[in-house]
């Protein structure tokens, strides 16, 4: 392997830094232009409430039939349903169906009359009275949650930095901290770019991004540290040793990343909007952390290590020159003294 090897990891730090930079800038632009894509369950939505005065006394079968008739009508009308909930009330019960905020009132209005007609004409349901209403819901954001989540992420990163710095090396601590910050930023940028619908769960996903980034850093730097401590690496120049260690750390990080991606991708595909609210941002976090764990943070740690070694060598050289100068001055003094005598 040479320094010009196209597969070298550690000499491409500017390239690895350019990737998050581009993503974050794009994310920032989207944030200021469009903002996050809010999910209907927690954010703005249009909804239909269909109430049934016999619901509370109905058996489970009838309750299910009531909801199924409504769902069938929604499916028939080809309106995308985000989620729904059902409830018993003092005057019966209701089912509330939520749709995207851009769903037109006219569509919902005709859907509601379709549902009410279908319910009234269904013989199985008995003699219930049905009523419906349509609503416009505008979310109020929980700013305290968001603020506290941001503080938590900052504390987590600071702690991870201290831990990694003490347990591994200072350069690795700094790289872990930088990777953590970039991973959270990249996760949020990807959520913005891919227009993933977000709920307040996004704050938990951002914390997950910090945790996963720390996990990846521990795996990568743990592997690198054990290799750098080995006899085989002792004689290698700092740059070479870091490059080889970084390459060796790619495999465990990739395995970790792929395992997490498989799990979260399957959960996202099969488990509905509630789970997707967390798993889609989490997938972004895993992708960002895997990228930084394999390429960015080892390169950053290597650059810092090489930089540090240069500073140490420079310092040693400076000290040597100073010593030489001092020695020469002493000799000169001695020679001058001898001459005087």
């Amino acid at each position: 392997m040479t320094k010009t090897d196209p597969f070298r990891i550690t000499n491409k730090l500017p390239v690895w830094l350019a990737v998050p930079a581009v993503l974050i800038i794009a994310g920032l632009v989207l944030f200021f232009v469009l903002g996050f894509q809010p999910a209907a369950s927690i954010a703005d939505s249009r909804s239909l409430v269909v109430s049934h005065d016999q619901y509370v006394n109905a058996d489970e079968e009838l309750k299910d039939a009531f909801v199924d008739i409504c769902l069938a009508q929604i499916e028939e009308a080809d309106v995308e349903l985000i989620d729904y909930d059902v409830a018993d009330t003092a005057t019966g019960g209701y089912a509330e169906f939520r749709f995207a905020p851009e769903t037109e009132n006219g569509t919902l209005s005709s859907l509601l009359s379709g549902i009410l007609t279908a319910l009234e004409s269904d013989a199985e349901l008995g003699n219930g009275n049905y009523a419906g209403s349509q609503h416009d819901n505008v979310a109020q954001y929980a700013y305290d949650y968001i603020w506290r989540a941001a503080v938590s992420a900052g504390v987590a990163l600071a702690l991870a930095f201290v831990y990694v710095m003490i347990r591994y090396r200072v350069s690795m601590g700094i790289a872990a901290l930088a990777a953590g910050v970039l991973d959270v930023a990249m996760t949020l940028a990807l959520v913005l770019i891919l227009r993933i619908p977000v709920t307040t769960v996004l704050s938990a996903a951002a914390i997950f991004a910090v945790f996963f980034s720390v996990l990846v850093s521990c795996v990568a730097f743990g592997r690198m540290r054990s290799l750098l401590k080995s006899e085989e690496y002792a004689d290698k120049p700092a740059g070479e040793a870091m490059e080889d260690a970084a390459r060796a750390a790619v495999r465990p990080v990739l395995i970790l990343g792929i395992a997490a991606i498989v799990f979260f991708a399957l959960l996202s595909v099969f488990c509905g909007a509630a789970i997707r609210a967390f798993t889609l941002p989490a997938l972004c976090a895993v992708a960002a952390s895997t990228f930084s764990g394999t390429l960015l943070s080892p390169s950053l740690a290597a650059a810092l290590r090489v930089c540090w070694e240069k500073i140490v060598v420079k310092g040693a050289e400076k000290a040597r020159l100073a010593r030489q100068k001092e020695e020469a001055a002493r000799q000169e003094k001695r020679a001058a003294g001898a001459k005087k005598d």
Partner: protein, 556 residues
């Protein structure tokens, strides 16, 4: 370990794990014998789990501002007028339920009759129907194609007539007051630090709040956080016209009170008022005067017309000269910690955001179920089961006997997590909680993979199986512990710092990391040690799927 001992241990272990798994999943059934004369029903552990609002449901309620009523309330009022009218008409005509109510009214109108009771009811009904207008596209220009409404609005208090189309619009005054009320309500609920919260403006003029099912007393929560009006101090209920202390043109109540918070002491709630120096002087003056007027005086703290808490002054010789006031109830009036927290939130919001002048009336508290929740959890179990099965197959193929140890470790992890989530106080399973459990399982799997690979590498260097296992664990221990300790510490600290979803995620993840670490470092090793004894010593390395590169006899 001898073979007999291994077999016995394996059987016991298997029975325990199978029993625990059954405890989790077996559906509810009646136990066919009585315990203490009571027929008991067995409830599976899964059904004890508290699901978060996203997966299970929660409580919700709608706040109606003054001048806005629900269609149900409107209909009920109209029905009441009609019933009273029917009664009055029957009394007027001496009718004994033989004629229909409509026919009686038609006759009354045709005859131009004039009965005082009937006229009063007709007038009241007419006034009521004139006051309230249906909030739909027929009456409001801001609504388009909204035919079915759930609201009626006071045409004078809340609405204004638009000059463009002669339809109504929400008045600017109402919009301004409503906007303040929304932001105050959002902040109040925000301060409750619930695992889930959804505050939304419904139809532009009501507030809908959803909270998780873990809230013990949702009715009290919704009621107390909805108190509106000015924060005042009074001597008794009749003194509302002249409170002892209230905001005035010069000073708001924040001039006297710095902060209101709550604490719990021995199961009793305490509301803590921190006073400014002006507040300290003012409270001294007020309490001193109250003591002079009456021996058993009480200083009451009001929000609007709602009396929140009282400070008894019977034990005091003089006025109160304190910088901080700790108020709790006693005897029958003891305040629950939850209640004290609600009061403190409301009072503190009056200091921070000013008084909420728009009066809100609370609709019915509804216990709702997330429609897709059950389907989602079923899908989660299927996906989790399928991926775990695939992972275990991969482990069995590569590590054979060690794969068995990993299987038992994964099952132990999952059982522990289900137990923690079901029985630990405050544990709620949300979408992020599911992800925390999955992350713990991934950490356990990768930890075991790393350890097994190191054992395999050590074995390949020619070491005996015993020393390979020792060396493999020694080599892996630092890395595995590092990851687990760091993530455990992070989740522990963040659990205390954060709120809501993040705190819920950290709480579950805390136990996921702990269980995964114990399962990886201790349990898997112990299980592997037990299972090794099942085969002859000379074949143990083959049982673990290892290959001796030099000779098979080395092991002996």
């Amino acid at each position: 370990m001898s073979k007999t001992k291994s077999v016995v241990m394996t059987v016991i272990l298997t029975i325990v794990i199978v029993l625990l798994c059954l405890m989790c999943v077996v559906p509810e059934f009646s136990i066919p014998f009585s315990i203490g004369g009571i027929w008991k029903t067995y409830t599976p552990v899964f059904s004890v789990i508290n699901y978060g609002s996203d997966l299970g449901g929660g409580y919700s309620a709608v706040y109606y501002p003054e001048g806005v009523i629900s269609a149900a309330d409107y209909d009920a009022q109209i029905e009441s007028y009609e019933e009273n009218l029917e009664e009055a008409l029957r009394a007027y005509y001496n009718d004994d339920q033989t004629t229909a109510a409509d026919a009686l009214l038609d006759r009354y109108e045709e005859e131009n009759a004039n009965d005082k009771a009937v006229e009063e009811i007709l007038y009241a009904k007419q006034e009521y129907t004139d006051t309230y207008v249906a909030y739909n596209s027929d009456n409001f220009s801001s609504l388009e194609n909204v035919t079915e409404t759930a609201l009626y609005l006071d045409a004078e208090e809340v609405c204004a007539l638009s000059e463009e189309d002669g339809k109504y619009v929400l008045s600017e005054d109402f919009k301004e007051e409503f906007s303040t009320a929304v932001s105050v309500m959002a902040r109040r609920f925000d301060k409750k630090n619930l695992s889930f919260l959804d505050v939304s403006v419904r139809d532009g003029c009501t507030i809908r709040v959803s909270v998780p099912s873990t809230v013990a007393d949702p009715d009290t929560l919704f009621e107390q956080l909805g108190y509106s009006g000015a924060f005042t101090l009074r001597a008794n209920e009749e003194s509302y016209k002249k409170p002892l202390l209230s905001a005035n043109a010069d000073y708001g109540m924040d001039h006297y009170f710095k902060k209101v918070s709550s604490l719990s002491s021995g199961g009793t709630g305490v509301v803590v008022f921190e006073l400014t120096s002006a507040g300290k002087d003012e409270i001294y003056r007020i309490t001193n005067k109250l003591k002079d007027d009456e021996t058993d005086a009480t200083l009451y703290f009001y929000v609007g017309e709602q009396q929140l808490i009282g400070l008894g002054l019977s034990g005091e010789d003089d006025g109160l000269d304190e910088r901080t006031l700790y108020i709790s109830g006693s005897g029958e009036n003891v305040i629950e910690p939850e209640e004290a927290e609600n009061m403190a939130i409301v009072l503190d919001s009056c200091l921070e955001e000013g008084d909420m002048n728009l009066s809100l009336s609370l609709g019915e508290t509804v216990d709702y179920t997330a429609g897709f929740g059950e389907e989602v959890m079923t899908a989660v179990y299927i996906v989790f089961g399928a991926v775990t099965a695939l992972m275990l197959i991969a482990f069995f193929v590569r590590y054979k006997g060690l794969g068995l140890a990993h299987l038992y470790a994964v099952l132990s992890y999952l059982i522990c997590m289900v137990m923690f989530i079901a029985f630990l106080s405050g544990m709620v399973l949300t979408a992020s909680g599911v992800a925390a459990v999955v992350s713990g399982a991934v950490m356990l799997t990768l930890g075991n993979f790393y350890i097994f690979e190191n054992i395999r590498r050590e074995f390949a260097t020619g070491k005996t199986l015993d020393s390979s296992i020792k060396a493999g664990y020694k080599r892996s221990l630092v890395a595995v512990l590092d990851v687990h300790i760091l993530l455990f510490l992070l989740s522990l600290i963040l659990f205390f710092i954060s709120v809501g979803e993040v705190a819920t995620f950290c709480y579950v993840f805390l136990f996921a990391v702990l269980t995964s670490g114990v399962a990886s470092v201790l349990l898997t090793r112990y299980y592997a040690y037990i299972f090794r004894g099942l085969v002859a010593r000379s074949r143990q390395y083959k049982f673990y799927g290892f290959k001796r590169e030099v000779s098979d006899d080395d092991e002996d």
